[in-house]
Amino acid sequence: MNKETPITLLDKPNSYVGRTLSRDAAKRAVAGRGRYTDDIMPARTLHAAFVRSPYGHAKILSIDVDAAKQQPGVALVMTGAELAEMCTGPWVGTLVCFDGMKSEPQHPMAIDRACWQGEPVVMVVASSRAEAEDAAELVTVEYEELPVVIDKETALDKDTPVIHPNLGDNLAFEKTIESGDVEKAVADADIVIEDTFTFGRHTAVSLEPRALLAEYDPGTERLTIHTSSQCPHMIQTVFARTLGVPEHNVRIVAPDVGGSFGLKIHTFGDEVAATAAAIKLARPVKFVADRLESFATDIHARENRVSGRIAVTKEGIITSMDIDVRSGAGAYSQYPRTSVFEANQILNITGGPYAHENYRAKTQVVYLNKVPTSQYRAVGHPIGNSVGESLVDQAAAACGIDPMEIRRRNVMHDDSYPRVSAAGIEMRDLSHQQCLETLVERMGYDALLEEQAEYRKKGIQRGIGIAAFIKGTAPGPAGYYGAGGAPISSQDSCTIKLEPSGGVICMVGVTDQGQGVDTVMGQIAAATLGVPMESVRVIEGDTDAVPYGGGTYASRATAIGGEATYQAAMTLRAEILEIAGVLLQAEPDTLDIVDGHVVDKGDTASRISLAEIGRIGHFQVAELPNHIQHTLSATHRFRLKDALYIFTNGIQGAYVEVDTDTGFIKLLNHWVIEDCGRVINPQLADEQVRGGCVQGLGGALYEECVYDAAGQLQNATLADYLTPMAGEMPDIEVAHIQTHTGVSELGAKGVGESGTGAAPAVVMNAVNDAIRPFGGKVTAQPMSPETILKALGKV
C-alpha cells in the first residue's frame, strides 16, 4: 500500500473494505431466483420479432405486410417508415470531441435502404414470439441489391462504392497524434522493427441476450422499460428524446443483467421499435434478441489492422514507437457512443507502459456494410497492447535481451509520477516496476525459462509471454462523452439514508451486472458508517429510485460510484454523530460508530444505537433542538476533475505449448499482476481479472465474426462463433499491487477490463516465443491453427 495514503475509516481493523464478502445476488442465482428481463411476464404481454435485411446492402423497393397482419395473434406490423413517424428524428452517432467525424443519420429501422445484413426492416408484434416469427415469415420485402463495402483496406479507394453518398466517402474519422520526433529517433536508432498486425471482428456474446420489456400507461403517459442495461439513465434520456416522451415520465429498470461487457451500454433500433409498439398498443411489449439476432445486431468490435514500428538502442532502450491504424466500423457510427473509440484508444495506449518520448499514431476509421461497431470490454486495449508488446518482444529478440529485462529497462519508473505519456496523457499513481518484479517472482521466471529449455530438448515447444499494460478506467468529464455532446454522464451519485430501524439504504447510479458493484458499494457504506454489512441495502438499476448517474462502463463503478458512496456515507456519518452529540451531550468528534452503535472513540461500549438515532430522528424529532434540521440522508456525486481517465497498470505472463505439427495451442498457465488502487473486495477484484482475461483469450484464439464478400455474416451461431469454454482455459493466478489513486479519497481505480486488455498480447507473445526457433511469427488474431501453421510455413 502507498505509504503516503492517510489512514481513513476504511483502513480500520476489521474494516469491510479490503475483505472478501459474498454477494447477495449470488445467493439468488444459485437457487434459480435470478430475475432477468425475460423472467418478468406481465399479463397481456406481446412479443416482437423482426424482419431483417438478408443483404449487406440493398435498396428497399416495396414492403407487403398484408398477409402477416392476418396471422393469428398478430397485434401490429410496423415498417421503418411508420416507426420513423413516432420518432423525433434519426440518430447521428458523432461527438464533437472527435474533430471532423461524420456519420449518416440512422433510423431505428431501415426505411429506403438496408446497410447491413441484420438491420431491422419490419417489426411484427404478436401474442407469442413464435407467432410473431410465423407472421414475420409472411412479410414480403422486395430488395434491389447494392454493392457492398466489406474490406476496410480498400474502403477509401477511389473505385470503392461509397455507402452513404451524402458523406462523400467511407471515412468516418481520422486522427493523428504526435509527440517528439519519431523520424529522427528512427534514423538514430540501432534497431528498427516494423510489423503489421490484424485483429478479427468480435462481439460480446453476453449469455443473456439483449432484452427489453416496455410498458406504457396512456392515462399518466408514463413509460416503464425493464431492460438488460448497464446504463439506465442514458437509456432513459435516449429513449425519451427519441420517442418524444418527457424524460421524467420514463422509468428504466435494469433487473438482473445476464452479462454485458459493454454491449449493454448501447441503444438499438429494434429496442426503440418494441418500445414504440408498447406506446402505440398500450400493452406490454417484450423483445428478447435470439442468439442469431445477437450476432447479427449486437455491436461488433476490434476489427483493426495496425502497422507499427519501434526504434531501440542496442541496449534495448525504446526511443520511439509509431503506429498506423485502419479501423473497420459498421454501416453507421453507433449512437450515442460512436464507433471510433476503439481506434482512439489504440492511439492513446499503445506503448503506454514505456518512457519513450517520441510517438506518432494515426488512424482512419472507415464505414463497412457490417454490423455497427462500438464499445466492448477493454475498448482498443487488446489491440494496442498486442501491437506494442509484440514490437517490444521483437526488439528484445533483435537486441538479444530477455523479454522481461527489456521491459524492466523501459517501463515508467514508479517514482516518476505524475507525468505525461508519449501519447500525451497524464499518468499518475502507477507501479510498473513493482508489478514486473512481482510477476518475476510469481511466475518463478528463471525456473520457467529452464523448464522451457528442457522441454525444447524433448521436442516440445513451449513459450513464455510477457505483456505490460496500462488501462484507461473511469473516464472524466473533460474527455469524451458529455463533453462530446452525448447524453452520458461521467459523474456518479449516491444517496444514502438512515432508516428508523437503524438500517441503511444506499441508492447508487452505478449498476451491477454480476461484478458485485452492489456488494462493493455496501462494503464502502458499511465501513464508512460503521454499521454491520447486513444492515445496508444497496439499490441500483432503477431510474425512479437512484440519483442520476452514468451507470457502469469503462471500469468506472468502483472508482467513481465508490467514491460517491464513500463521500455520501461520510456526510451521513457526520450528521449521525451530530445528533448523537446532542443526545449524549458529547462533542461529535469524540464519538465514533462501531457495529451500528455510537461509541466513545477508542471504546466499544455502546452509548446509543443507530436504531435509537433512527427512531428519534424520524419519530421523536421533538427530542432534538430546532437548529438541527437533519435529513438523515445525504447525496454526493463524484467526478474526475481534469483527468481523461484514471489509468491503471499491470503486467501479465503466459505459458503455452504449441503443437507445431497441428498449430494447436495449449494454454498452460496465466498470471496477472495489476494495480487497481485500493481493493475493496479481493475476491471480486480477482474474479473480474480472471473473467476478463478469458474474454481476451477468446479473442486471441477463437473469436471472429466472419463476413463473406457479399457482406453475409458466416458464423452467426454459437456453434460457429467459438467462445472460450472450460475445457481449454487455464487457471489464472492474480495478484494486486495497491497504489491508491490520488484523485479520490477512496483510492480505487477500475479493475473490470485489466484482464481483457493484455491477455491477447501476452498469449501472442508466448506463442511467438514458442515458435521463434522455427522462424515462425504470428501477427494475426485469432491465432487459429491455420494461422500458426501458415506462420510455420507448413500450409
Binding site: D38, S206, L207, M725
Partner: protein
Amino acid sequence: MSEATLEISLTVNGEAVTKTVPVRQHLVDFLRTELGLTGSHLGCEHGVCGACSVRVDDAVVRGCLMLAVQADGAEVVTVEGLTETGEIADLQKNFVERNAMQCGYCTPGMLITASELLREPKPVSREEIRGHLSGNFCRCTGYHAIVDAVETTINNRLEEG
C-alpha cells in the same frame, strides 16, 4: 397450418403437472412460460450454451433440444427443484463462497451439469471437471472459480464419505 397442441402430464420438481402445450414448444419455454420456473435460462436455443440444462428422468439434457411434449410422463427437475430438495446445497454454498458466478445466467445450468459429478463422487482432476463442464458457456468468470467450487464440493463429499 394451425397450431398443433397436445395434453401432457409430467412431474416437475416432484409436482404432478398436466397442461396442453403447442407441440413445437421446447421444454424450457414450457417450464418458463407455463410454469413460471424461470431458473432455467435460454442462451442460444441451439444446444451449445448449456444455460437451459435441466434433468429429465435423472439425466441432464439441453432443455432447448427437447420438446415439451416429449417430457410427457417424465420426471423433470430444474434448479428450483434441486434447491428445494437440498441435494446440491453444498455445491450452491461453495458457488456463493467462491463467487463461482457473476451475472448468474449460466449458473443453474452449471449447477445441474456439475451435480452429475456429485452423485457418486470419485476423485477427479481439475482437467476432468473442466471437461465435464465444457458444454456450459460462462462469459463472466473464466471458469477458474467454477472449477474451484466444484472441486471443493467433490473433495468435501469424499472426505465426509
